[in-house]
Point group: C2
Chain length 341, copies 2
Amino acid sequence: MAADDPRPLTLRDVSEASGVSEMTVSRVLRNRGDVSQATREKVLEAAKTLGYVPNKIAGALASSRVNLVAVIIPSLRNMVFPEVLSGVSAVLEETELQPVVGVTDYLPEKEERVLYEMLSWRPSGVIIAGLEHTDASRAMLKASGIPVVEIMDTDGTPIDCAVGISHRRAGREMARAILKQGYRRIGFMGTKMPLDHRARKRFEGFTEALAKEGIEVIDQEFYSGGSALAKGREMTKAMLEREPELDFLYYSNDMIAAGGLFELLAQGIDIPGQIGLAGFNGVELLDGLPRRLATMDACRAEIGRKAAEIIASRVDNPAVPVEKIVELTPKIDYGDTLKRR
Amino acid sequence: MAADDPRPLTLRDVSEASGVSEMTVSRVLRNRGDVSQATREKVLEAAKTLGYVPNKIAGALASSRVNLVAVIIPSLRNMVFPEVLSGVSAVLEETELQPVVGVTDYLPEKEERVLYEMLSWRPSGVIIAGLEHTDASRAMLKASGIPVVEIMDTDGTPIDCAVGISHRRAGREMARAILKQGYRRIGFMGTKMPLDHRARKRFEGFTEALAKEGIEVIDQEFYSGGSALAKGREMTKAMLEREPELDFLYYSNDMIAAGGLFELLAQGIDIPGQIGLAGFNGVELLDGLPRRLATMDACRAEIGRKAAEIIASRVDNPAVPVEKIVELTPKIDYGDTLKRR
DNA sequence: GTGAAAGCGCTAACAT
DNA sequence: ATGTTAGCGCTTTCAC
């Protein structure tokens, strides 16, 4: 413990120290209403020397305004989400609003708990990853009466509105690009699906577009846990042993794709001549790899920014009309591992 | 917006719907005091069908208890911090406490602002990265009267208590290990220092231990911004052009070290025979690299866990005595890039 | 086992 | 430009 006095300072303390009414002290501290320069200075002086920190709990209760935006994401260990957060923060920093992060570990029940906790603080808005939620979660969000933006995914029906990309379409487009380069014997590696709806949708779009050309994925493998880089490498090795004839490897994220890249390089395989590869996300982290991985930008920061803008505008004016779904369009980055010369 | 009714539900609504007094409803919802099974069920039923979510703002004001722990870190984009957070969350999940994250971007003034915001919510404790803070921040923390754990670093004087490693010592030990392997012409690459005290201390410890053996770093370079992997690669290339005689490269983090590794591999340099390298952190991310990088574990999750335990125990009982400084001891992981055969 | 009254620290609304 | 009053939605305390 650091202090002797167990009682935190209140407005009253500042009021007494400055000889100004509580109300006026409150006005000064919030920059609201007209206060004379002289009083303002007295108050600020007193607050500063006392070390007064306002009690937002009381303020929020009295004003029934809480300048918090709940941001609910599956994980912080996947760089995608911190990048979305950056976008959110960048926009909210221009406003009174503050993001508060909750992590669900991809578990629907945990999402429900986290959401309940967050809503009990009566935030001004919610930004939540994905369109899949428990019934209870959807009910809470609907009942909350605050703006809700579901992010990252647009393949589904939003509760309120959504900003993201279509992962099904992303999968389809990657499939088309791969076929166009003449690859035909394709393997897929990704995260275990039930947990990750967006990865699942990409895979579905991918296989669907292949099927349209009469092609099926030759081999597939799903992992969970562990270092993505190492897993990507292991899975690739195993898959090549099972299916030496593969000519393309599609990965559900860039990290495992990078692992695969290392394995192919170690085996001295010609990339992208003999085997091509592609990942997903466009994480800048990978800029310095020996080869530039083919990937697809998931528009992470942009999604965060747009979502925050929607919340901010609706907090200012709940009546503003908003598009139900804002679909951003990711582009394929061919890098050095997809385009055959 | 999702709902029609702009007024969120209150205890009174549940009270009326269930025909039980507000007080008893409150007791049921908090599992406090004796309530008959029959009443309890009535209340739970009513709360559920209404979709009542308690208002923690009001609850916190009335009880002057807030089960929030402020966790203040420089960034979420450096994997180190999400890993610390995992440790914190893991421990706090066993308690009533909840972590709330604030990000400072390594800026002391932003730290001050974030801290002020967080303290205004009257959290039960603070976990904050580093021992360097503005005077105002230190004053706020002292005046808060709540437990404060400064983490990641033990080279300095904590406000209340600290859990971390000595980065000076880490730097010294790496220097000794490098010298012991016979390396003598050493280069250093790292982040721009003023922003990152822990990297600075490692560098200081490093040069100090070299100096003791009459050795100086031959070349050094500092970067900021951009992809760490790419930067590591660029800096390494540039440094080798300036100083072809280098026989060891020490990096302030694993990400730039990995970039350096790629550059050395691309140049066909014998590692660790001709040139050795080492990074810092032990990020599991790097498990799948072509060579296992020498590094030093920063005990991230353990630091998070320990810090959370201290907060939790002090919230339960403010009187429990605590060590001022808990210093964990990182070990060198030699990998394949430091130990000459 | 249940209820009534008071008040947490602030701000909205209305004085002056 | 400043002060007064009431009350935000809960929990504490005390009564029954």
